[in-house]
């Protein structure tokens, strides 16, 4: 392919030649981010609820403390207290092989395991690591959101005969959600950016595409500047979306 120079130094032809790679990488980045936002939010909700679980009566009280609050606290502490990069490596090279392994996988073994590992290993590990990490951060957002709601709201709902889960669902969470939207949006943006770390275990997303191109041509400005702009556009889009959501759901909360 003929060299195309922009501004006298930017080899646009390299980007064009690898256009498909960047396009696939972009799709993968978006897919991984969306999957992890959804799963991380669900996990974060569950962990966040576990962290605020309380009961007055004796068997349930101990269950709440030792089976819910403590494990949830340790989980959150671990995933917030260790680098995501290390978590990805740990899950990809140590944890996942424990479950999916051709010789003695706990869940899947044999030929199927070999297949999955080869074709989807990095994808699976990446999603698991990013979801677990995001779940820890999002659970803190949920916990703070739930705890920021006036106790009188729970008391009013419970005094009407509404059970604790109903109170959470109809009274506390809808109000907490409005307050949680800005931090959840920030978290989604972090997630999008952090997904680039999965390239380290060989998942073909945006950062991986850039690395491939850089390796092939020993040129660094072109690929990394290109994906920087792509990430930037994505995060700007996400921020815009969050703003729209806030404008839509943020009303009615003025106590």
């Amino acid at each position: 392919m003929e060299q195309v120079l922009w501004f006298g130094w930017f080899r646009a032809d390299i980007i064009a030649e690898y256009g498909v790679l960047f396009w696939r990488g972009l799709q993968m980045t978006i897919m991984v981010t969306l999957i992890c936002i959804v799963q991380g939010t669900l996990l974060g909700l569950a962990i966040g609820m576990a962290r605020v679980a309380e009961s007055r009566h004796s068997p349930a009280r101990a269950i709440c403390k030792y089976a819910l609050r403590w494990p949830a606290t340790v989980y959150v502490s671990f995933f917030r207290g260790t680098p995501l990069f290390v978590q990805i490596l740990l899950i990809h090279f140590a944890v996942l092989p424990l479950f999916i392994n051709p010789s003695d996988g706990l869940v899947i073994s044999g030929e199927a395991a070999r297949n999955i590992k080869q074709n989807y290993g990095a994808f699976l590990s990446g999603i698991v690591a990013l979801t677990l990490n995001a779940g820890a951060y999002i659970s803190e957002i949920f916990r703070a959101g739930i705890q920021s709601i006036d106790k009188g709201q729970v008391e009013a709902s419970r005094s009407l005969g509404m059970s604790f889960p109903r109170t959470m669902y109809h009274v506390v969470l809808p109000q907490a959600f409005r307050r949680m939207l800005p931090p959840l949006g920030n978290n989604a943006i972090s997630l999008l950016k952090d997904s680039s770390l999965i390239s380290a275990i060989g998942l073909a997303e945006l950062a991986y595409a850039a690395r491939t191109v850089a390796g092939a041509y020993s040129r660094y400005w072109e690929p990394y500047l290109t994906i920087s702009v792509m990430y930037w556009v994505l995060t700007l889009g996400l921020a815009y979306l969050v703003k729209k959501l806030e404008a839509r759901y943020g009303r009615g909360d003025s106590r």
């Binding site: 004796s58 005094s159 009407l160 009615g252 909360d253 003025s254």
Partner: protein, 243 residues
């Protein structure tokens, strides 16, 4: 007459601080009991123990013969029979007046949307706020919010109503409208326990007045007995400050 609430040697501590130190009382159907006393005397805590919002440290509370603080008790079913009105209204700010009132009847009592709406409309007529049915709580004055809160509690068709200083957070000019609704309710024969600083209301509406201080029932009797001829020195001292 039917006894609906029976309290035996009720005690409550917050940490090492005793708040209730052995309260006994019985409340009969259709009776209106006003609980008065200085702030910090434990009267609100006493009220909140009646529907289990506050856990008792000792003693027992029986509502219709069911022990409120027994772990096996279905406290949600019990509470659906006991309405409660709070000092700070505690309306759900993300729901309209209508939704505030219909939430529990549709979810707990399984009323259809139409039945719940009809019931809400009737109650809003009763508290004089039908025109606010689609408003949000933050669009209402304090007095209006409290009247909606009363309608919300009544929508469950409770057999007992508890009022926790319902007018204390209101501007003076709005106290009357709330008290009027409560008085109408009392005249309809609702069983009511009212923690209040409104001595005029207590004198006029109560069948019985309980004076609580330092976690104990110091004196109780008809409004005339308590307000005109208090026997205990502590009651006299309290009344001389507030009347």
């Amino acid at each position: 007459m039917d006894e609906v609430i029976r309290v035996n040697r009720l005690t409550k501590q917050f940490g090492h601080t005793p708040v209730l130190r052995g309260i006994d009382c019985a409340i009969k159907a259709t009776e209106v009991v006003c609980v008065i006393g200085p702030s910090g005397s434990g009267k609100s805590t006493f009220l909140r123990c009646l529907n289990g919002l506050e856990e008792a440290s000792g003693g027992e509370v029986l509502v219709h013969g069911v022990s409120v603080h027994e772990p096996k008790t279905d406290v949600d079913a019990l509470r659906s029979e006991i309405g409660m009105v709070f000092q700070r209204f505690n309306l759900f700010p993300h729901k309209t007046v209508l939704e505030n009132i219909t939430l529990a009847p549709t979810k707990v009592r399984k009323l259809t949307a139409l039945e719940a709406r009809n019931r809400a409309s009737e109650l809003l007529i009763k508290v004089g706020l039908l025109d606010k049915i689609d408003a949000y709580p933050n669009q209402l004055s304090g007095g209006q919010q409290q009247r909606v809160a009363i309608a919300r509690a009544l929508a469950m068709q409770p057999r007992i109503m508890l009022f926790d200083e319902p007018t204390s957070a209101l501007d003076p000019e709005m106290v009357g409208e709330v008290l009027a609704v409560m008085q109408a309710l009392a005249e309809e024969g609702m069983t009511m326990v009212v923690v209040t600083h409104e001595m005029g209301f207590a004198r006029q509406v109560a069948d019985r007045v309980m004076f609580i201080d330092e976690g104990l029932v110091i004196e109780e009797g008809s409004p005339a007995e308590i307000f005109d001829n208090p026997r205990e020195e502590r009651t006299q001292r309290f009344l001389s400050k507030v009347l």
